[in-house]
């Protein structure tokens, strides 16, 4: 169990984490979601006592991280795949971590086996691929057989096989009753792994909800219709008492009606349709709607609401380069 209470972190004028309060519970995978630069990594570093909060507290099973006896036996964390000395072999990297927490040497072999690095245990990690480095970092997190595991963007840069492996690992760890806390900036990734969702933007808590609840509330389905007889189609829909939202490309979006019914309606009025397609707003779009307010500097081309923009295209790239300012500064 990890409890954050009013956690705040300022870097000079920039408020990276803004009064965060939430609890990470055992037995489930909790996804920690936010755009790049939302303060996820800073929050995780504060959980591990690496960064000092400006105010507020983090408690791990009721205690400050620094008060833990042999912390690796309580919390295992993967913060950054490159947080290791490249000149040291995988085995020695894990051995020095194990020794510092009184973990037996045999456990190093075990975790190397778990992550599939036994064959390169004696190799220096400098030559490792990103995926191998990530596995070594995960081996370090598992070393103390901890009840709490934290992973910061664990699937970044991994191949599909590696991603699949990490997803299953996290689910298994949670199924064993452990607390699993994993950050990501990809909603689609979270949808596949997380049971619970904590969303932040600009360091502020935007949502703290179950994944199922988030999907139920946010997966909007609608039917997209396009016709050369644009005006007539509108009139017919009006006449039938069906609400629609016109889009700038001339298409109409209709919620709460199925495609068959709409197609038959158009046919009855002899309207030619160029498109009649059921659509499901993705969770990614829901996530973007949620964080849109917290992202101060948008890409300038999205004059439409984010729901209509192409998911994942320009989002999250442009604004990050803009300087962020503390609210009210």
């Amino acid at each position: 169990m990890i409890e954050l209470a009013d956690l705040t972190k300022d870097y000079g004028d920039v408020r990276a984490v803004d009064h965060l309060t939430f609890t990470v519970r055992p037995g489930i995978v909790t996804g920690f979601l936010g755009p790049n630069g939302a303060g996820k990594s800073t929050t995780m570093r504060m959980m591990l006592g690496l960064d000092h909060p400006t105010s507020g507290t983090v408690r791990i099973d009721g205690r400050h991280y620094r008060r833990l006896q042999d912390p690796l036996k309580t919390v295992g964390a993967l913060l950054d795949a490159k947080a290791m000395h490249g000149g040291r072999s995988a085995f020695n990297h894990l051995l020095c971590l194990a020794q510092s927490n009184g973990i037996p040497r045999a456990r190093v072999r075990e975790v190397l086996d778990t992550v599939g690095l036994t064959s390169v245990a004696g190799k220096r990690s400098k030559g490792f691929s990103l995926g191998m480095g990530q596995r070594l970092g995960i081996a370090g997190a598992l070393l103390g057989d901890p009840q709490i595991l934290m992973f910061d963007e664990p699937v970044n840069g991994l191949d599909p096989e590696g991603i699949h492996w990490i997803r299953n690992l996290m689910k298994n760890l949670a199924a064993q009753g452990r607390t699993v806390f994993v950050s990501s900036h990809l909603m689609s990734e979270m949808a596949l792994t997380a049971d619970h969702l904590v969303v932040i933007g600009q360091g502020r808590l935007l949502a703290d909800t179950s994944m199922a609840g988030f999907i139920r509330e946010n997966s909007r389905s609608f039917v997209r219709m396009r016709s050369p007889g644009h005006e007539r189609l509108r009139d017919v829909l009006h006449g039938a008492g069906i609400d629609f939202v016109p889009r700038s490309d001339g298409a109409l979006e209709v919620e709460g009606e199925d495609a068959e019914h709409l197609g038959e309606l158009a046919a009855r009025h002899r309207i030619v349709l160029h498109e009649l397609s059921p659509q499901q707003a993705s969770l990614e779009e829901a996530f973007m709607r949620l964080t849109a307010g917290a992202v101060e500097y948008h890409a300038h081309d999205d004059h439409q609401p984010p729901a209509a923009a192409a998911p994942g295209a320009a989002w999250g790239t442009d604004w990050r380069k803009s300087p962020r300012k503390k609210k009210g500064a």
Partner: protein, 256 residues
């Protein structure tokens, strides 16, 4: 709370599992001994041409340590890398997550590296002395002569102290390039210049290396230093302690 013996073992594993340890310490030994031997041999050949004043000031023990000025640079690199490698590789976050008590972490690391530097420093000092004296032939000093044993032990202590000082500075500065960029020219050039220009000599002789080297000298005629061999070394130790306190204070306060 992490147990200190566990952290010491961990730091020992860390230090012996990277190549830079062997390289830097190896170079320190080889350069100090070889250069000392070379200069000792040249000094022997040149002895008859020395002025009477220089003959009186002729210090065979200190001459055999002539390689230390260069050899200490390798020890500085060793000290800097032991600490700053944690930062440059990102290992520091992994290390501090494993040992969140930063004082325990830092001083365990420094203890292990200091012990290693002490062993290597003493070894180097004795070997440099014996090889150097062998080169000096009839002009040589003996370990039993007054002050010689103290000077040879002092040589080992000096090399240890310069390493610890570098670790303290590197803890404050974190970056290996910045640390080396300041320490190397300082000890190789600036200190020597300040110590030899009359106008700055009064200040220069209180610098860590200038003061610390006093303990390695046997013959001190014409020396105007206001401290003795151990007094000089004590000044160096004060520098070391100051660097360590500075490093610890910053490590405690800083975000990793």
């Amino acid at each position: 709370m992490a147990v200190v013996t566990q952290v010491l073992r961990s730091e020992w594993t860390k230090i012996k599992s990277v190549r830079s340890t062997v390289w830097t310490l190896g170079i320190a030994v080889v350069v100090t001994v070889a250069l000392g031997a070379l200069i000792s041999a040249l000094s022997k050949r040149d002895f008859d041409n020395l002025s009477p004043k220089d003959k009186i000031q002729f210090d065979p023990t200190f001459i055999s340590f002539a390689g230390m000025g260069l050899g200490q640079l390798a020890l500085i690199v060793f000290g800097v890398l032991v600490v700053s490698n944690e930062y440059s590789t990102g290992m520091i976050r992994t290390s501090l997550a494993a040992v969140p008590q930063r004082g325990t972490f830092l001083f365990s690391k420094i203890t292990i590296a200091t012990l290693l530097a002490f062993v290597v420093g003493m070894l180097t000092s004795f070997v440099a002395f014996f090889v150097g004296q062998a080169m000096l032939g009839s002009h040589k000093a003996h370990l039993g002569d007054p002050g010689v044993l103290r000077a040879v032990i002092g040589g080992g202590l000096y090399m240890t102290a310069i390493t610890v000082f570098s670790m303290g500075v590197a803890t404050m500065l974190r970056s290996p390039m910045l640390s080396l960029g300041i320490l190397m020219p300082f000890f190789f050039l600036i200190s020597a210049i300040l110590g030899n220009v009359p106008a700055t000599r009064k200040v220069g002789q209180y610098l860590p290396d200038q003061a610390g080297q006093k303990v390695m000298q046997v013959v001190t005629f014409g020396d105007d230093a206001p401290y003795g061999p151990w007094g000089g070394f004590a000044i160096m130790v004060l520098w070391v302690v100051a660097a360590l306190i500075g490093g610890y204070a910053l490590l405690r306060r800083r975000d990793a």
